[in-house]
């Protein structure tokens, strides 16, 4: 996996821990991926899998004091983001990498007019005049689909609905024309009809502006709808990654199988029983020595509890970490396929 010309961000062996009273929580334990120009890479996983921590480490937005980047690198335009000083990092956030958070209310300043929240970064990073910045803010509000942009730019966040607030947050993130947009559960707090609007907006903006998107989500439906490639995270590791079609139609490890079998599909027959994944995710204070999914895995073998499986590669994009692909392992088929449930 050498860095090819298309790769805009290369993350290798990222490891992040948090210090708590109970001990060290190993939230991210060696995550590697590439992000290409103009693509959407989805990082999917359940709560505590380390997906948001991965995103925040790239933005260097982890809480100071109790968090520590234990290792790895994140190469963006020849620089390792993990080694930059706060001052250098401030020049990256906005014009290079921007982030959209889950809750649009807490990511906006309630005491500041919406327009000023957009012009803030324009004036600071792009050194625009007040007048030019105001014009640009209104342009941006129009671009993200806010009607009466001029009037709305003078209003406060509480005067906006949830969906409109998320549009404002996206406008702020896009203000300095970033190369990479990290969207952390951007639609989780929104209703489905509003979610559809925001996902369509992101897709449309990506086509027009050519930015790369890292989409963090727990919703496989959102992944299927918007992403080109997907990385499945479990207990701080990427357990499977590939194109969206590869991972959904030809998943290669039991956790991915379990995720697919446990979601109710609106198209599926009601009489089919959902196949839940038994148990719950491991305690990251003391993560399992071997494969983290082994304690919940119906196919677990002795080796699974002793050693983390290596990645097996199935195509240029598709790889998964599972001992079932060892030549000596038994042949196992996934319990249910997406196609079977249509």
């Amino acid at each position: 996996m050498a860095m090819n010309g298309d790769t805009i961000l290369q993350v290798r062996d990222l490891a992040v821990s948090f210090k708590t009273y109970a001990g060290e929580v190993q939230a991210v334990r060696g995550v590697s991926f590439d992000l290409r120009r103009g693509e959407t890479l989805a990082i999917v996983g359940e709560s505590g899998s380390g997906k948001s921590v991965t995103a925040k480490s790239l933005m260097r937005l982890l809480p100071e004091g109790n968090s520590e980047i234990k290792g790895g690198e994140a190469i963006f335009e020849g620089q390792d983001l993990l080694k930059l000083s706060e001052k250098q990092m401030q020049k990256m956030r906005g014009p290079k990498i921007a982030m959209v958070f889950q809750d649009p209310m807490t990511s906006l300043d309630p005491t500041m007019r919406v327009g000023n929240q957009i012009t803030e970064s324009l004036r600071k990073h792009l050194r625009m005049s007040r007048r030019r910045a105001n014009e640009r803010a209104i342009e941006l509000l129009k671009m993200v689909g806010i009607p009466n942009a001029e009037e709305r730019s003078r209003q406060y966040p509480h005067q906006f609905s949830g969906g409109m607030r998320q549009r404002v947050v996206i406008a702020i993130a896009l203000a300095c024309d970033p190369k990479v947009l990290i969207a952390d559960e951007p639609t989780t707090a929104l209703d489905v009809t509003i979610q559809a609007q925001i996902l369509e907006l992101l897709r449309d903006l990506q086509e027009r502006l050519g930015m790369s998107i890292i989409l963090i989500t727990h919703d496989l439906g959102v992944v299927a709808q918007t992403a080109h490639r997907v990385a499945v995270m479990y207990a701080g590791k990427i357990v499977e990654t590939g194109t969206v079609r590869e991972v959904f139609y030809n998943p290669q490890m039991p956790y991915t199988w379990g995720l697919i079998a446990s979601i109710p599909l609106p198209t599926a027959d009601r009489s089919q029983e959902l196949i839940p994944i038994p148990g719950s995710p491991p305690d990251m204070l003391d993560p399992p020595k071997g494969c983290p999914f082994a304690p919940r895995c119906p196919y677990a073998m002795k080796v699974c509890t002793q050693e983390m499986p290596p990645y097996t590669t199935f195509s240029p994009e598709h790889r998964a970490a599972c001992w079932l692909h060892h030549p000596l392992a038994p042949d196992v088929e996934p319990p249910i396929k997406v196609e079977d449930r249509r």
Partner: protein
């Protein structure tokens, strides 16, 4: 929309007639959270109530189990008006109707051990004659929901989200209810845990003949668990139909848009789908649009929609819709 009727008269455990719940908000305004819904829930069935935030689905559910006094209309359980009951009769009704809440963190008292949380209903209704019987019932309930006896002496914070939701279910079952309102019971849980809780609820229904009102914004989950589904928008029902029928043949423009907005975890199907993306947001329930409430976002709206109230009409077997000009 008065005179709605969401089902047959036969075998109805719960009848809701023109139920209204209004809240007074600042400045003398009234928020019409639920504004005249009628439906019937049959014994042993699961009725799903879906809609977006603010549509009134939770308020409707809470009013049905007597957590709110209605502003109009009535709720009958086995023919008895639940809001007219008081004293001993009220307690008897409370025993028959229970609720499971969305947030298992906020709905369990952090200072009580799980055994006491589960036994609270048993104590209030004096269902155990001795300490031993009380403890035996708690142990049995915990095992029924997939926990173990040892959990009775622990506190809620020692459990994961899915386990806490199981405790909430055990508490609801403790008084041997007939009707359970489950308000977004799996929304706070991860998918792998969601399926565990859904399967548990289905199993309990089979074993105990429970009747559920299942409230959720997640249309896939609702379809999976419900026999019939009602779709709410701005305080009113716009469509009620058997689950399969509603999803394969949605008639109301709002139901159609809502279903088309749900992303399906199937990339090829996603790319082929035609999505109806609604414009704008849900209007305020303080001052809902006149005529058809959906008209401000409806792709088929005409001028007439502002003054013509939709008519509640049966368009197929057990398939009811708030019909306007665009539904023939």
């Amino acid at each position: 929309m008065t005179g709605q009727n969401g089902g047959s008269k036969n075998g109805a455990l719960l009848q809701v007639r023109d139920l209204k719940k209004h809240f007074r908000v600042g400045g003398g305004a009234t928020l019409k959270a639920v504004d005249g819904i009628s439906l019937e829930i049959k014994r042993g069935e699961t009725f799903g109530l879906v809609g977006e935030s603010g549509c009134g689905k939770s308020t409707a559910g809470r009013t049905m189990v007597r957590l709110y006094e209605p502003s109009g209309g009535e709720v009958l359980l086995e023919g008895k008006n639940v809001h007219a009951a008081s004293g001993e009769e009220g307690r008897r009704l409370n025993r028959k109707m229970q609720m499971i809440f969305q947030d298992p963190q906020a709905s369990l008292n952090p200072r009580m051990v799980v055994g006491d949380i589960v036994a609270e209903g048993i104590d209030i209704h004096r269902l155990a004659s001795s300490k031993k019987e009380r403890l035996d019932r708690v142990h049995e309930l915990l095992e029924t929901v997939g926990l173990s006896k040892e959990h009775a002496s622990r506190y809620p914070h020692e459990f994961s989200g899915g386990q806490r939701q199981r405790i909430g279910i055990a508490r609801a079952l403790a008084v041997d209810p007939e009707f359970i309102v489950a308000d977004e019971p799996v929304s706070a849980l991860d998918v792998s845990i969601q399926a565990q809780v859904i399967n548990l609820m289905r199993r309990l229904q089979e074993e105990r003949g429970l009747t559920y009102l299942f409230i959720s914004h997640d249309l896939s989950v609702v379809k999976y668990i419900s026999d019939r589904v009602g779709v709410m928008y701005l305080g009113v029902l716009v469509e009620v139909a058997p689950s399969e029928e509603l999803y394969s043949n949605p008639v109301h423009p709002y139901t159609q848009a809502l279903l088309s907005a749900v992303p399906v975890p199937d990339p090829d199907a996603e790319h082929e789908r035609e999505r109806i993306v609604l414009e704008g947001d849900v209007p305020s329930p303080v001052d809902p649009p006149s005529g058809c409430r959906f008209r401000t976002r409806c792709p088929y709206a005409t001028e007439a929609c502002a003054h013509e109230d939709p008519v509640w009409r049966e368009v197929g077997p057990e398939h009811w819709v708030a019909a306007c000009h665009c539904i023939s």
